[in-house]
Symmetry: C3
Subunit: 327 residues, 3 copies
């Protein structure tokens, strides 16, 4: 899809956010606005009373066509902290076999005056499809579609980087692992490039790098020792065993041997480098426990920031007043 | 069951609504009161803040012995808009094999100070059974019991008709489809007769019309072309494949050939006739897509009105103050 | 585990409650404080508006590794009446095979700023494990772990006894049934001894009495007729068929013959004795229906008191202000 189409689909006429489906098509200013809003909400999470009344009376429907207690819970908590009402709808992927059925489901939820759909779906493009057919008063947030995009994850990752390391332009970031199958990596690369990161590297075996990699504005490394040298930020990807087809993937053991993050390899990065992972981690597969729990790991901070970032996106998408009050 | 018993069971001594189990036994004034309340709530759904504090502190338990995400969600949203707390209990029908077990479940929920049970059950009479054994401070809403009744669906249907077409006495209404197995049809017929609809028709093959049809005050048609002629309202029933036993039912294809609503057949009705359906629709079985999505279809409006009607019934049943404040 | 360790683990430095895992290690004053708080909340449940704002903005996560709609619902209602936000996480016991995984789950929920975990787990010690590894700002409530403890159940039982029968020191209490496998009995014995009950009896076949029984400060009876004579309180345990291993247990029929509570046996107790049961009851197994539904049964009152007791524990554990406002 064309970035211009993505811009048009996601933004209102006045340039404000309506849907949040992909980083593609969104400008640096808007991404920075999301980060700034999230900053204001990061404080809310530490307050005694963790609620703000921004979305009181709004109804947010979690439409999960793919099971994910963890992601659903972060969106649910974000919505509740904004005082919205939440309905959880776990819909078997089978019900989506016919596009018609999915549309009828949507039309019905719209008719119930839901204001926002948070959509997770195993098929790439599902959130776009829903957004394209949504009623004018409805916002759609993509919570992960197939191998395509997971933009709130990417935003919480760049939020973490900005909070922990500051100015993007001075940073060297490496994304390590199965880039090919990862919607997270795709969204991270777009966000980091848009925010003008100093240098962006991807580190993976040849078989797990997408063909279009060269055009993504990244430096490709196949050797982790070279890839990690002097970086400020290491993002380990999750090995998505359930998303693999065919025999492209090395065994877990072999993967860890070649790409797993150990203390020794971490030492190749800058001494103050941070270690990130979208979770849930597979200890001994993507990284060893000492690194996961070590002083340089910010993996758990990412989780908390994820709620602040989702609060930001939700409140920005649900109308101008919400966005104004929140800032 | 005798209408007088149904009146006594459902109303308080002063005539106000306590349970809402069936249209049977309820007078025209009460049904009209529900419609008028729903009218006031229809506005709430369009407001920026969609909550009213009428049932704050009340606890409403959704007791679903039959799976229905859609119906449960409308009741959940209605309760949340009234500021009630909601607990969802999906109970396998197996647990109800012994009446004792069901009663013990009820007694326990009552002891937890739940104020209202919204009950869906595969057995006809289950909601009555529960209401008859409920503690004095508990209200029961029937959200569909076996083939027996689905009164909130019927009320949202008549609400839709009143909103779209006005005065019932001047209207000709046709209900088309499997009348025999439909709790929705049973409740619609009672409500439309009680509200003194001009003419009520049922349109179905002989095998799908209940024996007592002649005594229901309806005109029976077996030919859809005759049945739809000059009607103001067409209500298509859902083909309840899962509720059928034996071979009474034609194939879906055959059904659509004989009773499906096409544009051609719709043209037999009055030019301003509306098309209704309780949902979820089976496109190409009960009606074709062009009709479902056409200008005369009010199927999605029904869904939104359903929340207003459920808010009305809930607030009327949960005490005099609630009812007074709501009006 | 040593009582001193249990004291240290459960209390803050200033002696206030932090976790509620077991009765063991808690003093009489603290148990009495819980009962007094519960007394103030018992009124809340009967008020028109059943909510108090004590825990507004707090997030309580129900972590149920063992299915229990009933217990989960009482904790959910208690939390909602305190105005907390609740997230329900039903986690298959399989996910806990590795301690690491459980800890990672915890760390993630903590990072989402959950304030309290209500934990039910099939393994004895699971709630302790979680509490020992929890972040400083997190409280853990044990909602039943293996055969070990179920302290909120024990507290609602002693609350019921105090409300119905007054001063513990003048009372003779008999616990009847499968003591060996019962976490409820273990917690009840600790609580009743700590509260200085006049006389505590356990009534069970030799095979269902734990070896350490003699050291528990209870009188052991194998004959129910002797065990019930002149008691003020009869607590029937649930026959936990699913928790049994091996052939220690008599058949249900045989159990009822020897230990089931009939009207005839109840007549051996004091005329104003009360009958208790943690629920859900098995009619005709632990007690016959006439007794369960009879004038001396307080089984359903226990359920309602259970919410008040859980409100007390939750509000006491979540900070000094909460506790102060509630009293």
């Amino acid at each position: 899809m064309d970035p211009l189409d993505n811009r048009q689909l996601q933004l209102r006429d006045d340039g404000r956010l309506r849907h949040f489906l992909t980083i593609d098509g969104l400008g640096r200013e808007l991404l920075t606005e999301i980060l700034d809003h999230a900053e204001s909400f990061a404080g809310v999470n530490e307050r005694m009373v963790k609620k703000v009344p921004l979305l009181r009376g709004k109804v947010i429907a979690n439409l999960f066509f793919e099971n994910s207690t963890r992601t659903r819970t972060t969106f649910e908590l974000a919505a509740k902290r904004l005082s919205a009402d939440v309905v959880n709808l776990n819909i078997g992927a089978s019900a989506t076999a016919k596009g018609e059925t999915l549309l009828d489901t949507l039309r019905n939820l719209e008719a119930m005056h839901c204001d926002m759909f948070v959509v997770r779906h195993p098929s790439s493009g599902a959130a776009h499809f829903i957004a394209r057919h949504a009623a004018p008063y409805v916002s759609v947030i993509n919570a992960g579609d197939g191998r395509h995009a997971h933009p709130t994850q990417a935003m919480l990752d760049v939020f973490t980087i900005r909070r922990e390391k500051g100015d993007f332009s001075r940073l060297r970031v490496a994304i390590v692992g199965d880039i090919l199958h990862s919607r997270v990596a795709r969204s991270q690369i777009l966000a980091l490039n848009r925010l003008r990161v100093g240098e962006l590297r991807i580190v993976a075996p040849r078989t797990l790098i997408p063909e279009e990699a060269r055009s993504l504005g990244v430096h490709v490394f196949h050797d982790i020792h070279e890839g990690l040298r002097d970086v400020d930020v290491i993002i380990m990807l999750r090995l998505q065993r359930e998303r693999m087809h065919g025999a492209r993937l090395p065994s877990e053991h072999e993967f860890f041997q070649r790409y797993g993050l150990t203390g020794e390899r971490l030492a190749l990065a800058r001494p103050d480098a941070i270690v990130m992972h979208p979770g849930p981690i597979n200890r001994g597969v993507e990284l060893d426990s000492a690194v996961a729990d070590g002083a340089q790991s910010v993996i758990l901070k990412q989780v908390g920031y994820g709620i602040a970032v989702r609060m930001a996106v939700m409140s920005m998408a649900l109308g101008p007043d919400a966005a104004r009050e929140a800032s």
